[in-house]
Symmetry: C2
Subunit: 193 residues, 2 copies
């Protein structure tokens, strides 16, 4: 732990953000969303409760930011030069993310947030918009190259939904082969249209 010079105010702010995010991630993994308080996040992160309230407003907004942030950084969108390559890299990465130690906790945080009314709905919409935008850019690149590309919602139906359901219900395991099979089905369905 090095002391950040006072001339770089963003440094401390970024550190607090990272520490608080980490505390939320740990508490979600240990107890599940809804089973901890802002006070417990603050205690674990070593910051004052008031710092969290001032910056994030409430636990829902904080949890939303953590979930969306994690999603954006962990599931970066591939750019391999072909739709086939992009979809395979994306599916394999998504399988890895969602079956990793934080994947189930993240999914369930998103679902738990839906119970929390308006803040939860905003969190869900932000999560979905983030996911959809990432995918849309990938599919747009394919179309710009002259490839026939599926819609975002088809990627959800064919690739993400089966993975998410398998993780949520604990069915089977998300192997690379399985991820490839899901991509094959999507591409095959497109070829049949």
């Amino acid at each position: 732990m090095t002391e950040e010079p006072r001339t770089r105010p963003g440094g401390r702010s970024a550190r607090v953000r990272a520490t608080v995010h980490q505390a939320v991630t740990e508490l979600v993994a240990e107890r599940g969303y809804g089973n901890f308080t802002v006070g417990e996040v603050a205690a674990r992160a070593g910051v004052a409760d008031t710092s969290i309230y001032r910056r994030w407003g409430n636990l829902e907004a904080l949890a939303m930011e953590v979930a969306v942030d994690r999603l954006s950084t962990e599931s970066s969108i591939p750019d391999t030069g072909s739709l086939d390559g992009d979809l395979r890299a994306y599916a394999v990465q998504a399988a890895r993310d969602v079956s990793g130690p934080n994947g189930l906790a993240l999914l369930r945080t998103i679902l738990a947030l839906l119970d929390t009314g308006t803040a939860g709905m905003r969190a869900r919409d932000q999560f979905l918009a983030e996911r959809a935008n990432q995918l849309q850019r990938m599919l747009d690149r394919a179309r710009a190259r002259g490839e026939q590309a599926p819609e975002v919602i088809e990627v959800v139906d064919f690739i993400l939904a089966p993975m998410y359901i398998r993780v949520l219900f604990g069915i089977g395991s998300l192997t690379t082969d399985y991820a490839e099979t899901l991509v094959d089905r999507l591409l095959q369905a497109g070829a049949n249209e």
Copy 2:
């Protein structure tokens, strides 16, 4: 409310079961699983707490029974004489069940039960086994007629997973057309094999 004659002990037992199930269903819909106690179920059903503990052991076991029971009765398996007909009737019914007032609550009960350790795992396994057995019988009938039928897990991937994810994340609506589209995709994938 008619008084059941003492010569039919099953009558009262069945009534208690129905009343307690109804109380759980209502509480799940109103508050979500995990936000009510055995005492509150008992109060709403008009029975003693001890009756619930004696019969079901704990809230997880009771919630599991309610979820599995509801699934079994509401999602009866069609028998139309063809795989195509069965799958379409099944998918349309599943879409209706899961997007109905209790569908989301049921799904989320199952997911919440996974947080409760061993009892939750048993609940999940029982839920999945029930779903899988129903489907297996339908697919077995198709094979017995000489039809080429998919595996249960393919029905989950192609039909149930997209519906469940759409309901859980609140994406789109589960129309009959959408249910039919999911069946088309499954049958098309089978035809391509």
